[in-house]
């Protein structure tokens, strides 16, 4: 099985999920037999290609073009279609990033193929490659297989594989092969403009050792004070899942998850948070996770060290009182 991994960089630096996906690819190649090649797109990225070549890959396919300097979905699709038609892989793997979501399904469709996105793992079942992804906001998992001939397209969720397992190239360095692609300015219909961050945050949740986070279970903005009292009782920062910030109940800078902050505190106390994938990727690195939720099947309990199935409006005041007792 010939596997291509499309790597991603952000402003001159690797997006670490690229290495996670290389590890996934090596594991698929280990199970099915085959080779893993890494693709790098850009302009003036020779140094990154050389760095990629020190990893355990058969080759680095380096695609450089002035029109690939900035990411555009059209540019990436037109270029990668040519790379794939040329390299003829059986399987093309991506990290499941916002950028990949933006172009990879279209790339697959341009080749008449489908994509299994946001996978958390795979299994080799009697020669059949089975991809595992989440459905219903993480409440269920699904086994998904490809139908029809390759190339097949799949992306792996951030954190699904460990980047530190990526081996070095046994011979020191893999060959870097430049691939020429035909790309015209009028292939690219959108124009990327400046990158920016919103006004500087007044709070840096990534540095907070203790976090009390609230989700939909908090029900109304006036109930947030209860969670804040609890946070105050242990000296924790308050944070939230996306819907709470979408509603404007807490500022966006307090949002944990794929579109917000990624945190790894000593303690993460999740109150009324169901544990949708988009939230979990932002906090699963916490040392100790406590979840309080009325639904015993909430996916948050899959990653919790301590769980309480119950009403947060009963638990919050009781816990606040208990914590204040010790002071």
């Amino acid at each position: 099985m010939k596997i291509l991994v499309v790597t991603e960089r952000r402003q001159g630096k690797w997006n670490n999920t690229s290495f996670e996906t290389l590890v996934a690819a090596q594991q698929v190649a280990g199970a099915k037999g085959g080779t893993v090649s890494a693709v790098l797109l850009g302009n003036g990225v020779n140094a990154l290609a050389d760095e990629l070549a020190t990893k355990n890959v058969a080759e680095v396919l380096l695609v450089q073009h002035g029109l690939l300097e900035s990411y555009t979905p059209d540019g990436y699709c037109v270029a990668l279609k040519q790379v794939i038609e040329n390299a003829k892989p059986d399987l093309v793997l991506f990290p499941h990033t916002y950028q990949v979501r933006d172009f990879a399904p279209k790339l697959a469709a341009m080749l008449g193929k489908g994509m299994i996105g946001d996978c958390v793992g795979f299994r080799d079942e009697g020669g059949k490659l089975v991809f595992v992804r989440q459905m219903f906001q993480g409440k269920t998992a699904a086994d998904v297989t490809f139908a029809g001939a390759g190339p097949w397209f799949a992306s792996f969720q951030s954190g699904a594989f460990r980047a530190d397992l990526l081996a070095a190239h046994p011979g020191g360095k893999a060959p870097v092969n430049a691939i020429n692609v035909q790309l015209n300015a009028n292939d690219i219909r959108t124009t990327p403009l400046e990158l920016f961050k919103e006004a500087k945050s007044s709070v840096d949740l990534t540095q907070a050792p203790l976090i009390v986070a609230i989700g939909r279970g908090i029900k109304a903005p006036e109930n947030i004070a209860q969670a804040e009292s609890l946070a105050k009782a242990i000296g924790a920062e308050i944070a939230a899942s996306r819907p709470i910030c979408d509603e404007g109940w807490l500022p966006m800078e307090r949002q944990i998850g794929s579109s917000g902050q990624t945190v790894a505190p000593k303690l993460y106390l999740a109150l009324g948070i169901s544990g949708a994938i988009q939230h979990v990727v932002g906090m699963k690195g916490a040392r100790t996770i406590v979840a309080v939720n009325k639904d015993q099947n909430a996916p948050i309990f899959e990653i919790a060290d301590y769980g309480v199935v119950g009403d947060i409006f009963e638990i919050m005041p009781a816990l606040t009182e208990e914590l204040q007792k010790g002071k």
């Binding site: 469709a109 269920t140 699904a142 029809g148 920016f196 301590y306």
Partner: protein, 254 residues
């Protein structure tokens, strides 16, 4: 500005799901408009209020999804298109997009909006696939739309707190990020007015779409736990005492 909004109907957020093969048992649960799509609908209505034109709510699924189309009409969409399909859950992302694209292709529109992903399948591919199939430019994870001189300036959300402005010509397909706006509620007047609005019904067959599946959901199941959770039980007071004890002396984090 004529806008088609794709809205999906999904199980209600607190619906207890029971698995049946590669889908869920639908009989005992409630359904609602996919939340990310409600933001796309709201954005379409605001664009119409600003620039004039028409908003069409498009939904694929069994008879029940008409309720979601009616909700969109009550909020202010002008008409609806229902692609009746009892077997929609078997469609893969490309198949569903082909059916939707065929219906969109019959209309003259300036913009196609989708939510970022659905809360059921969660494929998150529909908008991008529609752009590919309709040969339109696209942008995803949109937090702001400004229309000027036949083109748009869009604010895209990237990861880790970054944003980017992107210029995009019209017509185009946009996937809208949740939180872009505050979603309105339907008014009584809107609900009454919706009763007179048209919902056209089509089918995969009437649209002449044939589909070759590219992937198959073999089965759905409750995921295996990756961590051993210690559940604490008792009255709230007892649970609180136990938890503080655990956090102090077992996990030693407070």
């Amino acid at each position: 500005m004529n806008i088609i909004v794709c809205v999906k109907q999904v199980p209600a957020k607190d619906a207890p799901l029971s698995i049946a093969g590669n889908w869920i048992r639908e009989s005992d649960i409630g359904f609602e408009m996919n939340e990310p799509d409600s933001y796309a609908l709201e954005e379409a209505l605001r664009l119409k209020e600003k620039h004039g034109g028409e908003v069409i709510a498009l939904s694929l699924g069994p008879e029940r999804v008409k309720q979601t189309i009616k909700e969109a009409l009550a909020k202010g969409a002008d008409r609806g298109i229902h692609i009746a399909d009892g077997n929609f859950a078997e469609l893969d992302p490309l198949g569903a997009a082909k059916v939707l694209a065929a219906a969109i292709g019959k209309e003259k529109c300036d913009m196609v909006l989708t939510g970022l992903q659905s809360d059921d399948h969660g494929f998150g591919q529909t908008g991008v696939l529609l752009a590919a199939l309709l040969n339109l430019p696209h942008a995803t994870i949109i937090m702001q739309i400004e229309v000027q001189d036949g083109k748009m300036k869009l604010k895209r959300e990237l990861e880790a707190g970054w944003f980017q402005f992107v210029e995009c010509p019209l017509p185009a397909v946009l996937s809208i990020q949740s939180g872009i706006n505050r979603v309105r509620y339907a008014t009584l007047k809107g609900i009454m007015a919706a009763k007179k609005k048209e919902i056209a019904t089509m089918t995969r067959e009437s649209l002449g779409v044939s589909i070759e599946p590219t992937q198959k959901i073999e089965k759905i199941y409750v995921p295996q736990k990756t961590k051993k959770t210690e559940f604490l039980t008792g009255t709230p007071k007892e649970v609180a005492a136990k938890l503080v004890e655990k956090l102090k002396f077992e996990a030693r984090v407070i």
